[in-house]
């Protein structure tokens, strides 16, 4: 039961962690950019360096897909050994392989998404 719970948390992190990080990155980048532009236009600027803030925010959030990708890679590495065993180990190995492959893919794509958000204001920052 305890092992199942630990595995559930690991797989949830691998499948949902990068996705959550990207969503937070998008929401926060949007909120910072939109709010600072709106406030600046109405003369209520908050003196925030928007490109640097967004870059820092996304750099921190990029850690999540990197970590999830590493965990997924480890899951994938461990799974072939289990496949040779029978019984419940086979189901566990199948699941680890499935989560590993899916997790690596999700980590790569969402990391790319976070990087795109981070570099965007460096080339495209204005409120007009």
């Amino acid at each position: 039961m305890r092992r199942e719970r630990r595995d559930a948390l690991t797989i949830a992190f691998v499948l949902l962690g990068p996705a959550a990080a990207w969503l937070v990155a998008l929401g926060a980048s949007y909120a910072v950019a939109d709010a600072s532009c709106t406030l600046r236009q109405s003369g209520r600027g908050v003196g925030l360096n928007v490109p640097v803030t967004i870059l820092a925010l996304n750099a921190v959030l990029a850690v999540v897909p990197v970590a999830a990708g590493w965990v997924a890679f480890r899951l994938r590495q461990r799974s072939p050994r289990g496949r040779r065993a029978g019984g419940g180990t086979r189901a566990r190995a199948e699941l680890a392989r499935f989560a590993g492959v899916s997790g690596i893919g999700l980590a790569v794509i969402f990391l790319l998404g976070v990087v795109l958000l981070a570099v965007n204001p460096l080339v495209f920052w204005n409120c007009q």
């Binding site: 990207w22 949007y30 939109d34 029978g86 419940g88 566990r92 199948e94 499935f98 893919g105 965007n120």
Partner: protein, 834 residues
């Protein structure tokens, strides 16, 4: 003989497995049916009827547009029709049909005997039906909604839509949304907790993965729309100013909230369609789906990215370029997910031995059309291009390519694939080919010319056009195509009726299929499986492997058992290890009562008959109490300590499906609360003055007291819920303290209102304060009801697991209420931007 022990026999004498699962017959008594197959069928049939009505509305519009300056319809009727057509297809057809299909099919695919909460399932259907009927009763009241399916403000606000038309739209939709969210909760709990033993996540049918991701999206996307429609009704009914710019509100807030729902809505429809195609293609290509993990990855990717695309519907609203660039990037990224899926389907056909059945034809038609619609989607994700074609027929063509090509074609494939299982008879091949030809050719004739018409200047939502535009010929072709498409649908309906009555028997497995559904008779019996299947591979009928003999032992305990009540096993999330048995409820009329009450309340509010609305709320309360009483009265197997197949019935915490249902409800409420707070901050940033002077905030003592009462209630419930052993008297005393803390919280909510009553028509800040307090009061009421139920359970005695579960659920609601109020008071009482 009953395999359960210590259980009294049924009133009739001997326990009877078939009798327990038998559904009532006859028109009146069948209204009490709650089993997933009849309820799923009702969803599909009702949605199918709405599809026909929406199609007729489309044909009328096409006749009007067949030539320039036509006078077949006047402008007002055209406005009515495009509003009702869009609303019908988006809210009353596609999503309910898909949820109906999943309601019918998923338990059979997953090896369960029913949905986790069958009575709630029936309630969802009644809400959907009454919502649709309420919306269409606007025709009888000569007050048809006419502000478009998106209901942009200020067009949908009182000054520009003064009659009750938009109220019909808002209340009808509220009921339908409630139903959609409820059905999604059912599917989430079913796919996570009620799969057959051995069906690990890695072995789950791909359609189940699609429905799991789509259901998560429904919870996250439908809820903001429910909040938005409530806010618009506040504006219309109470004179609130959420969307009134002169009073600190913002019309853009509506667009944000609507599209936060509206864009994921496209994928809520597309993901199940992709799941259907993945299932159909592997059976009809006689080849396992190539790249199963990558297709699942693509589902997760699609679901998540779709939540971050809404702004691309707002590229012409004057947003800063940086903001738009974020969403352009996200919009183009989703093409990666679609590309992965298309590659997987093409590879599966390529490597398989495809049979060109009608279902397969629709799959191939889908791939071609969806790719075309996807390409125009990437085009409109680009800001400069979108700004040129926004509100033209190019966009109409694009989204019909995605929605008909990407969703309706797969639904036809699903019907040709699974109808033999549902009705026990096969549809005919030749008429099927005719249906495909008419639908495919008719569709492309209708919608391809719209790309050109849009590029050449034909705008949307205008009832006629100038002959000098030179688009009369294109429109005539589109109208001819629409009638061909309609003829295809007509031939399908006729073939369906004929096959239902006189079709050749389908047999158990007409396609040599891969999944559990093909291992049961057609149509499946009421209990689906008299013996619970045990799964050892991703394709149980193609690779009937066994990897754990002990699972077979557990499942054997369910062989035609229990014979005294309905039950099915629950399994763990990852590996589907049997964990407990769930007691499933029997038919009852109770779910119909609150749905009727809600519909009556909505109708009375539209008619401004407020006493009747109050009576409607009383009916809701009576219905809920009756329903809960019936549920608790039927818990005798739990009280008797019965085990089925060695698995306990009386469980709590994460082993109980009730816990998962409550957590899903908490997720819905948290999403609603988050939407309200995000709206508050959006208005705060955009308003020139916030809050208006003088600030209408009550003294800090009331909110602080409220928070203290809520934290006390949450902590007490959490403490009680974690106690393994507790005396009945202690439980009653703690629950009484909890109820008192909750009542104090309710009183303080009212006190916060009374200390400085907000005037919603004065400023959007006041409107937000009112909304926050109303939502807070609703949370307190829900938590109090949960606490009251636990108190009654403790007072009546009974299964200890059930009592702990009820206390845990109450603890969850109190914790949510406390957390939300902490965040809300942080927003209301801490001024972030002066």
């Amino acid at each position: 003989m009953s395999l359960t022990q210590g259980v009294p026999d049924t009133a009739a004498g001997q326990p009877d497995f078939d009798g327990v699962w038998r559904n009532p017959r006859g028109i009146w008594r069948s209204l009490s049916v709650v089993s997933h197959k009849p309820v799923g069928s009702r969803f599909m049939i009702t949605a199918g009827l709405f599809f026909l009505v929406g199609g007729i509305e489309a044909l009328l519009m096409r006749v009007q547009l067949a030539r320039p300056e036509n006078r077949f319809l006047d402008a007002q009727t055209y406005n009515d029709l495009f509003t009702m057509h869009g609303t019908t297809m988006m809210f009353l057809f596609v999503v309910p049909f898909i949820e109906g299909l999943a309601t019918y099919l998923l338990p059979v695919q997953l090896g369960a005997r029913d949905q986790p909460f069958p009575r709630f399932n029936a309630f969802n259907y009644w809400c959907y039906l009454f919502g649709g009927v309420l919306l269409y009763s606007s025709f009888a009241a000569a007050a048809v909604p006419d502000a478009g399916w998106f209901a942009y403000v200020p067009l949908s606000s009182n000054p520009y839509s003064p009659g009750p038309g938009m109220d019909f739209w808002l209340w009808g939709l509220a009921l339908v949304e409630l139903s959609g969210i409820g059905a999604a909760v059912e599917i989430l709990v079913l796919t996570l907790r009620m799969r057959a033993p051995g069906m690990s996540l890695a072995r789950m049918p791909v359609f189940a993965w699609a429905m799991l991701t789509a259901s998560g999206l429904i919870v996250l996307a439908f809820t903001p729309l429910l909040v938005a429609t409530s806010m618009l009704e506040f504006d219309r009914l109470l004179g609130a100013t959420f969307f009134v710019a002169e009073h600190g509100g913002s019309p853009l807030l509506w667009q944000h909230l609507f599209w936060i729902f509206g864009h994921p809505e496209v994928y809520i429809m597309f993901l199940p369609a992709a799941g259907i195609v993945s299932q159909v293609v592997q059976v009809h290509a006689r080849q396992r789906l190539i790249g199963y993990p990558f297709v699942v990855l693509a589902f997760v990717l699609t679901a998540v990215i779709s939540l971050g695309l809404w702004v691309h519907h707002m590229f012409t609203t004057g947003l800063p370029p940086l903001t738009m660039s974020f969403f352009t990037a996200a919009s183009m990224t989703i093409a990666i997910a679609s590309g992965i899926q298309v590659l997987a389907w093409v590879a599966t056909i390529w490597l398989g031995r495809p049979r060109f059945t009608v279902a397969m034809m629709f799959v191939v038609g889908f791939i071609v059309t969806f790719v075309a619609g996807g390409i125009t989607g990437v085009m409109v994700a680009s800001v400069p291009f979108d700004q040129q074609v926004h509100d033209t027929f190019f966009v109409v063509a694009h989204f019909h390519y995605v929605l008909i090509g990407g969703v309706v074609f797969p639904l036809f494939a699903a019907l040709y694939h699974w109808l033999p299982k549902m009705i026990g008879r096969r549809l005919h091949q030749r008429p099927g080919v005719v249906v495909f030809a008419l639908v495919f050719v008719g569709f492309h004739l209708t919608f391809f010319p719209m790309h050109l018409a849009g590029m050449w200047g034909m705008v949307r939502r205008v009832y006629t056009y100038d002959p000098d535009l030179g688009i009369g010929g294109l429109n005539l072709v589109a109208t001819v195509g629409a009638f061909l498409l309609a003829a295809g649908v007509l031939v399908f309906v006729i073939d369906l009726v004929v096959a239902w009555r006189r079709g050749a028997p389908a047999g158990r497995d007409p396609w040599a299929g891969d999944g559990l559904e093909w291992g049961v008779p057609s149509p499946p019996p009421s209990e689906n499986f008299s013996r619970i299947p045990v799964v050892g591979s991703r394709y149980p009928l193609w690779q009937p492997e066994r990897d754990r003999p002990d699972r077979d032992e557990r499942a054997r305990g369910f062989d035609r058992a229990p014979a005294d009540f309905r039950a099915s096993p629950t399994t763990s999330i990852l590996l589907a290890e049997p964990e407990a048995a769930v007691h499933l409820p029997t038919p009852t009329f109770w779910p119909l009562v609150p749905a009727l009450g809600l519909a009556g309340t909505a109708a009375a509010l539209i008619a401004q008959a407020y006493p009747v609305a109050v009576a409607g709320l009383v009916v809701v309360a009576v219905g809920v109490v009756g329903w809960l009483r019936r549920n608790e009265a039927e818990r005798w197997p739990e009280r008797s300590g019965v085990r089925v197949g060695g698995l306990p019935l009386d469980v709590h915490g994460t082993r109980a499906i009730g816990w998962w249902g409550a957590m899903a409800t908490i997720a819905v409420l948290a999403t609603a609360g988050g939407t309200i707070l995000a709206s508050y901050h959006f208005l705060q940033v955009n308003a020139t003055v916030w809050p208006p002077a003088p600030a209408q905030r009550p003294a800090a003592a009331l909110p602080a007291g409220l928070l203290a009462a809520l934290v006390l209630a949450a902590a007490g419930a959490l403490w009680l819920g974690t106690r393994a052993q507790i005396r009945r008297r202690t439980a009653l005393a703690v629950l009484a303290v909890l109820a008192a803390a909750g009542l104090a919280a309710g009183a303080l909510t009212v006190g916060t209102y009374a200390a400085a009553p907000p005037a919603p028509s004065r400023h959007a800040y006041d409107s937000m304060v009112l909304l926050v307090l109303v939502f807070q009061a609703a949370l307190v009421i829900v938590a109090l009801v949960a606490t009251g139920l636990a108190f009654l359970r403790a007072a009546a005695g009974g299964p200890p697991g059930r009592l702990r579960l009820l206390v845990q659920v109450a603890a969850g609601y109190w914790a949510l209420t406390a957390a939300w109020w902490a965040l809300a008071s942080g927003s209301l009482y801490v001024v972030l931007v002066g």
